[in-house]
């Protein structure tokens, strides 16, 4: 679902577009039909007066035509028309009409009154497709937006005259229906927040809880004089009511991906084992205003979100006039299953209880699949991922079957209670009993589904987690997988400022300083090369950091060789385990150091520094930003995405500067993910770069560097000499401090942010959330062109 038609509720100038649109399209109409139907299938469609708005809406076919008897003086009203399918089979044009799909659908639209206007006859061909098997369960997007179409997949009858949708007890018009999908329009004024959707289709019912979102856009001033500025605000209301289990990657609905790719060509939708996202794209369409943060800003929100789902920016006019800012919201979330709802009528109490038990079991399976997702988010092993994805699909399929069985049993029970013989009820009861005592499913629920194996470490390096099983009293872990840090990120405290050349304002800005100025330096150095003779370690850098007054944690794990079979020896299982346990303890020390460092940073420091050294891994499935690890395989690794995301959250608005150095191969993935965090707040290494200064972590300047590009290995030497740039900056700081020249770290911040970062193979720099004015970001070495290097 894409809210790209938000001009109807956006900024004031957009209203002009609406008026023009209404006038020019006043005579047009369109027939909406479900797109994928087979010959012989029952289906329903409807008539609309805005056919252009329905072009490229997924699942819907639009056949435009001109309404008869339209008057230039009055807007047409569909209630004045009839749709005739066959002679004598008429439907009000203001509602849905049903038909059986044949090679050609002959449709007549005529005036309902005594008008002498010629009716319109449409002959709509259908491709010779067979009816596809309908899905066994009901699913829909976990979000809805007022005034936009929603889709429900499920085993429908196809006849909209026997169907209804209630959204928070308000009737929602059905646009189209097939035997596998129902399309309805969410009422325009549905308030944002959690909403109940009750769907009836003949004697079948299902129920969803969805989050109704509204994209609110407003500006303090709607017309600007030349040089004048105004604040504008974009807010996604209702997103906080999305349930945690929906925050998984899933198929984007409709043309979302196409739309997104037009705006962000490098964005890759998250898979079912990745975190889900809401992507908000804000685009300035007017040439007479400049938008803070760039002409196009992409923001992503995931779970759990701290602060609002929105953005505050500034528009500054280069010419007097109004403006148009477009907002597009694109969800990448998991679809919601419909929960079983009792059929109309009275089943016997025992059948009802059995049906309830079946639905409960279906829910258990869905919970189980969510747990699997949670545990395997980020798993790097493609075979394990495939196995888990298959298992999740199997769980969901079984859940759908159980829901359907519950429905069939209740329906047969009602028929029996009403004196209508049901030849199948005994079979259904037997089937239900078998399913509830199914040893296969039962065992499936009780056994650990995922082997705890090295490398399967989505949460923390060096840890393995015990899979949860459904049906136990154990509380499911919070979903989806979240970064390793427990700290809650703070929202930007100030709006990115707009360019202003006035002397007065410059003087004001000079008086403002970073809130953490003078609060010291905190550094974390994780060094996987300290134990290797022919690798440059970071003990020297660590010492220099300490000498420069930084509170430095130097973590150089000493792993043991895990014995392997050789000509001389065959290790015992105990010997192997002893080495593995030792290495696990070393990984624990890395985790502890991360946590300790973040706690210190979150309290507020002038500069936060993280340096990693060792062997870098490239981006891989499930490991989109690669990893850092020791040279030998030691049972785990440090994920770049989680490491930097946790550090970003700790530093965000708590530091004057955040600096990272990744001295490993493929280390360019670090500036890449830092760029993404600094501007999009996510760590997918898939999102295209943008500029959103309000998301920068540090007040003054942030930077990230590496010894290699994001797609390249590196040499032993390059790791060393590129770390020399950091050493140079630290040496200068040490000298200044020895001479008593430094009261704070502003000089070191500048040194790290300028020559140091810009000299390295891959880098990202910005000027902080308080000072940045695009375009000033330096980017390089990871596939993004620098705005100031082009």
């Amino acid at each position: 679902m894409t809210c790209h038609r938000n001009y109807r509720k956006g900024l004031a100038l957009c209203f002009v577009l609406v008026c023009l649109s209404t006038i020019s399209l006043a005579q047009s109409a369109g027939v909406l039909l479900p797109q994928n139907v087979g010959i012989g299938e029952q289906a329903s469609g409807s008539i609309v007066l805005n056919p252009n708005d329905w072009q490229n809406v997924a699942g819907i076919r639009v056949i435009p035509f001109q309404l008869p008897n339209s008057s230039a003086n009055a807007a047409p009203n569909l209630s004045d028309y009839l749709v005739e399918i066959n002679p004598g089979q008429s439907f009000p044009a203001s509602g849905a009409f049903s038909f059986k799909v044949e090679q050609n659908l002959k449709l007549m639209i005529k005036s309902a009154g005594a008008s002498k206007a010629q009716p319109v006859t449409l002959n709509i061909p259908f491709p010779s497709a067979a009816i596809t098997a309908p899905p066994q369960g009901f699913t829909t997007s976990p979000i809805a937006m007022g005034g936009l179409m929603q889709t429900i997949r499920g085993p429908f009858q196809g006849d909209a005259s026997n169907a209804s949708v209630l959204l928070n007890n308000l009737a929602a018009p059905i646009i189209a229906e097939s035997q596998s999908s129902l399309f309805y329009l969410a009422p325009e004024n549905t308030p944002a927040g959690s909403a109940d959707v009750l769907v009836k289709d003949k004697d079948r019912k299902t129920h969803f809880t969805v989050a109704v979102l509204s994209l609110q856009m407003s500006a303090d001033k709607l017309n600007l004089l030349k040089g004048e500025s105004t604040a504008f605000h974009v807010l996604v209301k209702g997103a906080e009511s999305l349930p945690p289990e929906s925050w998984w990657g899933g198929e984007a609905q409709g043309g979302d991906v196409d739309t997104l790719h037009k705006l962000l060509p490098n964005f890759h939708p998250p898979t079912g084992l990745d975190r889900g996202y809401l992507v908000l794209i804000i685009e300035n369409l007017s040439s007479n205003v400049v938008m803070s943060g760039g002409q196009k800003i992409a923001l992503t929100f995931t779970y759990p979100q701290s602060g609002k789902y929105g953005y505050d920016g500034t528009l500054t006019a280069t010419k007097a006039g109004g403006f148009v800012v477009n907002g597009t919201l694109i969800p990448f979330l998991r679809k919601q299953p419909g929960t079983g709802a009792s059929t109309d009528g009275t089943a016997t109490s025992s059948d009802s209880q059995t049906a309830t038990a079946l639905r409960d079991k279906a829910q258990q399976l869905r919970t189980h699949s969510d747990t699997l997702r949670q545990q395997n988010s980020g798993n790097t092993d493609s075979r394990v991922r495939k196995k888990i994805e298959d298992e999740i699909a199997q769980d969901n399929s079984n859940a759908d079957k159980l829901d359907q069985l519950a429905y069939d049993l209740e329906k047969a029970s009602i028929n029996a209670a009403n004196g209508q013989g049901s030849s199948t009820i005994s079979e259904l009861r037997k089937d239900a009993s078998n399913q509830l005592n199914n040893p296969v499913l039962q065992a499936k629920n009780d056994e650990p589904q995922v082997p705890a194996k090295p490398g399967n470490t989505p949460e923390h390096p060096g840890t393995t987690s015990k899979p949860n099983t459904p049906g136990t009293t154990e509380k499911p872990q919070e979903t989806p997988h979240t970064p390793t840090t427990p700290e809650i990120p703070k929202t930007p405290t100030s709006t990115p400022q707009t360019p202003d050349n006035s002397t007065t304002n410059k003087k004001k800005e000079e008086k403002n300083d970073c809130p953490q100025r003078g609060k010291g330096c905190v550094a974390l150095v994780i060094d996987f090369s300290a134990d290797y003779s022919f690798e440059f370690d970071m003990s020297t850098v660590s010492k220099k950091l300490s000498d420069a007054g930084c509170d430095t944690d130097y973590i150089a794990p000493k792993f043991k060789d895990v014995p392997k079979e050789s000509l001389f020896s065959t290790p015992t299982a105990a010997e192997i385990k002893a080495a593995q346990d030792h290495n696990q303890a070393q990984w624990d020390s890395v985790n502890d150091a991360e946590k300790k460092h973040r706690e210190k940073v979150a309290k507020g420091v002038e500069i936060a520094i993280e340096i990693t050294n060792g062997h870098g891994g490239e981006a891989a499935p499930g490991l989109p930003c690669g990893d850092v690890e020791p040279n030998d395989w030691r049972g785990s690794y440090l994920r770049r995405d989680d490491f930097h995301q946790g550090n970003y959250k700790a530093a965000n608005k708590n530091v004057c500067s955040w600096f990272t150095a990744d001295l490993t191969c493929y280390g360019g993935l670090t500036p890449k993910v830092v760029d993404e965090l600094e501007n999009l707040t996510t760590a997918t290494c898939k999102a295209a770069s943008t500029i959103a200064c309000g998301n920068h972590a540090g007040w003054e300047a942030d930077g990230s560097m590496s010894s290699a590009k994001s797609t390249d290995t590196c040499t032993n030497g390059s790791v060393w000499w590129q770390s020399g740039y950091v050493k140079e900056a630290l040496d200068a700081e040490i000298k200044r401090r020895a001479a008593g020249q430094n009261k704070d770290y502003s000089t070191l911040i500048q040194a790290l942010n300028s020559s140091t970062v810009k000299s390295t193979t891959a880098r990202y720099t910005d000027h902080g959330y308080a000072k940045d004015h695009p375009p000033v970001h330096a980017r390089g070495g990871y596939g993004e062109k620098s705005s100031d290097e082009q």
């Binding site: 300290a530 043991k560 050789s566 001389f568 032993n716 390059s718 790791v719 020399g724």
Partner: protein
């Protein structure tokens, strides 16, 4: 594979900083004698490439024999380590020490006769001088990844020496003056691949690495 920014200026800069590297060796990290020269030979190779040592070859003469056993026995009994230039080579069970257990393993191996193709090893926390380091490689690689085998001794090169895959899902091919071992995408994670290395002087070695 070389870093594009590895300019001559940068190389000079590197050499100037090397003493710092040595002064920075803390926490018991062993720095072999003549480290600068050895590092110079490695600095333009892939990060992670290091010289291999011959497991069991404590005196680094290229063969594993009774002399090495005697050195290991003496060391295990607490006698002086004179003559041992690669203590790491005596840690046959990879437990981080050279002791009676290693001596027993050594005796058992030599009882079967001369060792025709001793195994090469990548890393140990114990010291090794790398007096005769002639082959350098990495500790392992990923599924579908590549592992280089470089000849550091000028007497040996990819033309007069060979690297073949003895076991495991991989292929080996010449690549300039080195060999490049390509691990199959179907290779199981955590499986082992063993290479057979034959030098120009007909000495044979094996090298086993793990796929991760």
């Amino acid at each position: 594979m070389r870093n594009h920014r590895m300019s001559s200026r940068a190389a000079i800069f590197l050499l100037a900083l090397l003493p710092l590297a040595m002064s920075g060796q803390q926490r018991g990290k062993f720095v072999p004698p003549d480290f600068d020269r050895k590092m110079e030979a490695l600095k333009n190779l892939e990060h992670g490439v290091a010289p291999l040592f011959v497991l069991g070859d404590l005196n680094e003469d290229g063969v594993v024999d009774e002399k090495d056993l005697q050195l290991a026995q003496a060391y295990a009994q607490g006698n002086a380590s004179a003559g041992i230039s690669c203590l790491a080579a005596g840690d046959l069970n990879s437990d981080g020490a050279v002791d009676a257990k290693d001596v027993t393993l050594f005796q058992q191996a030599l009882k079967k006769g001369p060792i025709p193709a001793p195994p090469l090893a990548y890393h140990s926390s114990l010291r090794c001088d790398y007096k005769n380091f002639f082959v350098a490689s990495m500790s392992g690689t990923r599924v579908g990844g590549t592992l280089p085998v470089h000849f550091l001794d000028p007497r040996f090169n990819a033309q007069n020496s060979s690297v073949t895959v003895q076991s495991g899902q991989a292929t080996a091919a010449k690549n300039g003056n080195a060999y490049r071992v390509q691990v199959a995408k179907t290779a199981p994670k955590e499986s082992f691949i063993t290479l057979a290395i034959t030098l120009a002087d007909n000495r044979k070695y094996t090298y086993t690495f793990q796929v991760h």
